[in-house]
Symmetry: none
Subunit: 401 residues, 2 copies
């Protein structure tokens, strides 16, 4: 931990107060006909929170940086995303609900086509997902432990899968086992440091074994691997902030991210209303709740302005179910912006509001990108959100005398 | 010094221009019935300064961090409070007007009650302050130098005192000499590093000697010590900023803090008007003046909204005496907020205004927490205030070509 992280950690005290962090994924946007989805949606409850609380805009990583879901969530959870870095393989594994542990090495895989010693299609003709699932079953049944390591593959969409190696001491300083271009021979991984040589040997043995098992297949008769990543060494929120944190999220990636920082991931149904039933059911058991709404992001990714607006209007109707619980601190914000115009994550800052007895009401009376730019909190790195939440909840002692 | 500190230091030039930093301690607050004390007070002069100058909000340490007076003042004086850290004993010593020097080791002390080998009351029944003063006189008369070190005790309130050991090479890596709980034996200090062993031996010899001297006392018949601290190693403002700085403050703690950064501490009477008479009297002799108003903080600590409002209204009436001197730069701000609602320091940012010929007037026309949130300076770490003051006073050269 660096200086300020260490200081904050030393100042944390456990108290009875409760914090709810509601993340509306990809919320921030650009206007169409003069208004953003958040400015277009009906948000009487969010507007009331903004009016009673303090508002601002956050940069997930740094101005101009478009973050993935990993860095943007780490930042919101109080972990400097330029210091704590998640390998691509880890995010991919979390996204297909792999339960990654400290002895695991994971990587992203492609099924590919091998003909006369050359990779002729790096995506095996984008085989259907059902075929992928069948091949993963075949591999898992045929694979036995190699060099004392457990091995398991998990299907993704089309030709994509995740492989998980389990053995103490595995390293991820490994080059991609991927020729990158077609009409080249299969590639093996190489160790980037001497301590990774055993891990490279294990991975390469798997590559050969998988190719053997798949040899009867027409298109998906070999595999490529890239983005090797170990379970990241991240102190838990309990260690850092003395919190008992719980995560309420429908999607595997966000449940996985919460696991990485030591949150207890609660069982939740697939509907948005299930998020709030789960919050109500477990409200007495934890002092920090991360609640994740996905729909705002996915409609942004689809470029669907109307659907995003509708998702925001609908999310707003659930706010009274949170406030009825009387949390000491309620923060509503986003992990990153996903403008419909871009159909992708962006670098635009997130609207942010903190509602608490101890929050300074400012001049902001609606919750939107532009309104928040006038707020008392100003524009700040999202990684400061955790100290703000703790402070408003009375969970930070005084620094110095 | 880190990167930016080094750069700023290298850019400083001595000039004839004059800077006044007026600190209204604990100024920031939360609203009651919709208005903060600063929004309620009559502040025509501060409002004019805000209207003509540039405004913003500062975080003393980092968002969410509630600072003590030490870190929050260091920050205003241009010293990163996460880097320059003051031991608890130093602040306590400054608070009772001990003149701490580079050869000194200080600690906070309690008079305590010892019965049949056990500490039965860690506060000696909270003896009256007069009794404390009498005991300190007795100790100072009876104590002779131990192991070549000068030793002196200074009374605080009730059972509290400060002890000062003077000898070159003393170290403060020492455990508290305090059993922490009652009905335990007396505790000695232990060295936390080999170089502190001599210091530990000295402290423990003092503990035995003081207990001998006090043995006839009914309640205050031994002492406990904690928070050992050496004089901090801080470069002076003259070294860092080429300033000739003076401090004008009624209270010992703030005079002491100013001493630590090398300010000359001016003689001043006890009334608020004395601050400004002193400023006028010495205005030609220095180029930087730190003027400290305490009442805004102490009324916040008392939770007395009306008294805080009145203190602000009264402070405002002295502004013309500052502007009549024609300082090139006048900054009015606070070290931290002390909301009446919390009766304590808080993490809320400080209103900040800089008034200078070279300041960019913004849209702010009144001096308040909310108005400053709309200012041209935005929200920024208070440690940047010094570079802003120097710049507005023409005391910073260009960086690079």
């Amino acid at each position: 931990m660096n200086g300020i992280d260490r200081i904050i950690s030393d100042l944390c005290v456990q108290t009875e107060s409760k914090i709810v962090l509601l993340v509306m994924d990809g919320l921030g946007d650009l206007p169409q006909d003069g208004r953003t989805p958040l400015e277009t949606a009906q948000t009487p409850h969010l507007d009331r929170l903004a009016s009673e609380g303090a508002c601002g805009l956050t940069d997930p990583v740094s101005m101009g940086i478009t973050p993935g879901s990993g860095p943007s969530h780490l930042s919101l959870f109080g972990y400097d995303p330029t210091h704590y870095r998640l390998g691509r393989g880890i995010l991919e594994a979390l996204g297909v609900d792999v339960n990654v542990g400290p002895d695991d090495l994971v990587a992203r895989g492609n099924f590919a086509t091998l003909k006369e010693g050359l990779i002729t299609d790096r995506r095996a003709g984008r085989i259907p997902t059902e075929k992928n699932q069948e091949l993963c079953r075949t591999l898992n049944e045929a694979l036995s432990p190699i060099e004392g390591a457990g091995i398991r593959v998990y299907p993704g969409k089309e030709h994509r899968f995740v492989v998980q190696f389990t053995r103490p001491g595995l390293r991820d300083a490994l080059t991609d086992a991927d020729p990158q271009k077609e009409h080249k021979p299969r590639a093996y991984t190489e160790a980037l440091e001497p301590e990774a040589r055993d891990s490279a040997a294990l991975v390469n043995a798997f590559l050969d074994r998988a190719t053997e098992i798949l040899q009867g297949q027409a298109r998906a008769n070999t595999v490529l691997l890239r983005g090797f990543a170990r379970y990241p060494d991240i102190p838990t929120m309990r260690e850092r902030f003395k919190l008992r944190p719980a995560a309420i999220a429908n999607y595997p990636m966000y449940r996985g991210l919460a696991t990485l920082v030591g949150m207890e991931v609660l069982e939740v149904g697939p509907k948005i209303s299930d998020l709030f039933s789960t919050l109500e059911r477990h409200y007495s058991e934890f002092d920090f709740f991360y609640v994740h709404i996905k729909k705002t992001d996915s409609s942004g990714e689809d470029g669907d302005f109307a659907s995003k607006t509708e998702a925001i209007t609908r999310a707003d109707t659930f706010i009274p179910r949170i406030t009825a619980l009387g949390p000491d601190v309620l923060v509503v914000t986003s992990d990153h912006s996903t403008p419909c115009q871009l159909k992708a994550h962006s670098w635009h800052p997130n609207p942010f509001l903190v509602h608490a007895e101890t929050a300074q009401p400012d001049l902001v009376s609606t919750f939107s990108e532009r309104a928040c730019s006038q707020g008392y909190l100003g524009r700040f790195p999202a990684v400061h959100a955790m100290a703000l939440m703790l402070a408003h909840g009375g969970k930070l002692k005084k620094y110095g005398a």
